[in-house]
Symmetry: C2
Amino acid sequence: MANFVKDFRCTLCNKIYNELEVVYTCPSCGEKGILEIEYDYKAMRKFVDKCYFRTNPDFSMWRYHHLMAIENKHIQKMLKIGGTPLYKANHLHKSVGIKSLYIKDEGQNPSGSLKDRASGVAVLKAIEKGYKTISCSSTGNAASSLACHAARMGLKTLIFVPKRAPIGKVNQLSIYGSNVVMVDGNYKETYELSKKAIDHYGYYNRNAAINPYLVEGKKTVALEIAEQLDFSPTDWVAVSVGDGCTIAGVYKGFYDFYMLGLIDKIPKLLGVQSSGCSPFVTAFETKKSIVEAEENSIADSISVGIPRNPVKAWDAVEKSNGSWVSVSDDDILKYMRKLGTKEGIFGEPAGVAAIAGVRKAVTLGIISPIESVTVIMTGNGLKDPKSVEKAINPPVLVKNDFKALEHYLKEKGEN
Amino acid sequence: MANFVKDFRCTLCNKIYNELEVVYTCPSCGEKGILEIEYDYKAMRKFVDKCYFRTNPDFSMWRYHHLMAIENKHIQKMLKIGGTPLYKANHLHKSVGIKSLYIKDEGQNPSGSLKDRASGVAVLKAIEKGYKTISCSSTGNAASSLACHAARMGLKTLIFVPKRAPIGKVNQLSIYGSNVVMVDGNYKETYELSKKAIDHYGYYNRNAAINPYLVEGKKTVALEIAEQLDFSPTDWVAVSVGDGCTIAGVYKGFYDFYMLGLIDKIPKLLGVQSSGCSPFVTAFETKKSIVEAEENSIADSISVGIPRNPVKAWDAVEKSNGSWVSVSDDDILKYMRKLGTKEGIFGEPAGVAAIAGVRKAVTLGIISPIESVTVIMTGNGLKDPKSVEKAINPPVLVKNDFKALEHYLKEKGEN
């Protein structure tokens, strides 16, 4: 396999390493020295062009394996990750107040979220490096996706979840046979305990900020968006932000295609957070450094008080000339209903937060009504039944009798 | 668009109609006179060959629209239905006791089940025929898929569910903006009430047995399986059975390809029911007519005491030289865990019932260990959190302390 990796660069001190010198983060800077994999785009350009894609019969994210710093020998045995649909909105763009809206439906991945892209890479890397157990801490999607793909490939998983993780996501872990440690603490405490355990037992670490390969999986969502829009991406791409790894990945994907000469511009990135947990937005609005925030939102996937990947996420928005907004839980629930009702897509709170964010950005004049926007719907609404219950009114029980039915429908103004 | 429909034949009296003479069932036989759409295979053969598929860039079920008796003008606006992955088992075939096992993961459809295939066709037909509201009664998957695709296309839905429908599925309906009527009765009573209402208000009827077009959507799962296996399908295809419409669709799909000369044989069909509700299996074992059965299984999608499509389902198994088996709820839960743990696929009870059925058929000598089998995983496990809770033990809360963690892992025998 052609491997176009040039080096690993520390995003803090800019020191350069080769692949064999590093495992997770920068040896000089420690855990905050998150590494960036850099490619030899000149060499890659000779190989990866539009023809490469036109003749590529693989419609999963593995179609990009030459851009992902992975070996391809176990790919055939993996579940199908990526290749998710990009829908042009039939109706929702009107509610949002823009002319052209696209929705990238990541809920259609095997475990129901975008995190499958990162976990798939983590599992392949663990196999490449000879690990038998892989571990992470997660509020849910990263964990369930890891459990899913590890199960398929015969790896063990040890997964740390905070006690507030939605039960649907935790049950998924058990169905996949994961060894689940539910920690009596918040996300931060759960993360710290997982770190100690992973070091102590020598497991492979799938924590997204730490592991430099995971972003190479996440970026494929941007590669797909660009390809699905015939290499002319929308003016903006909106994505919700927790740790910051996903938006960093989205930027990396567009950057790759830009460096390969496949797209003319990198879309402006809109980082969206919940107002109940918005460390990036607060820093953006106050023009100060990122400080720890409350974790108080129904959008559990993005309720991260101390983002683990602040530098890459911040740079992604800045370099793309993008912006940051926060949205309330009420707006999130409103756009969960709107997305379902107008487009037939059932998104999880963290995903629909991005649509609510686009609406807010339009209201604030950040996004112009004539600009085009792609929203990344990060996960499937089925994963979080409790939030859904807050978004809707449950149906009332109707007597098994036609007169009762007629009365019920008349009352509802339906007939 | 090339339309290869020859006629509509009543499966009871064999009377022939043209498309304009019928709406749902046979005018002579009434509701039990379920119609079969018959094609002019000779004409179709000239157009639909292996080259047609090789050069077809659409990887949704709409790639088969020439075989589906539908117009294609609104297809572009629909969600992506079908094109679901077919996985070769990495490990599970060993537990099942066969050499070669494939899993068709229908949980990857937009609303999370195979029913999207039928609902997509229903929505297009409703639009073709000028209806504004579409209605059905369903234990869940048919309903949520209808609500999903109708929402996308701007149609209203009136959906009747029995009170035992799983809450996750009912919530999905509300998210899609459906007008849900939860009937204080069982599936049969719900169906009867919906029938009265649909007649009375003049809505389009998506009840699967009644509507002759829906099987044309369902059959695409078989077309995909055949194509994904390079036109050499497995010896057996196993699918769980409720009303009987899905297995009838599976047969129809293979029959189409057989008549087109694209496959050499129609796979033997294994119809699987839950022992808590097994009218077909009872009839098969006692060699008597189908009689009403109890509805007592966690596999709610197939808990149908009076199957609405008995003739087509029965014929499908018989003509394919297949067989019938029933499985216990315990077996269903066991194979839900096994499918997740061994393959990373999270199936709903009705879906995993088919795997449990394959194991039973191997034990009974119906399927030989050297035969190959495809199992149709009809729906996503996320849709039914209550059943999942029965399948697994919830994780215990671990103190946020490394010593406590070490103790916990030692107790579990993990380290």
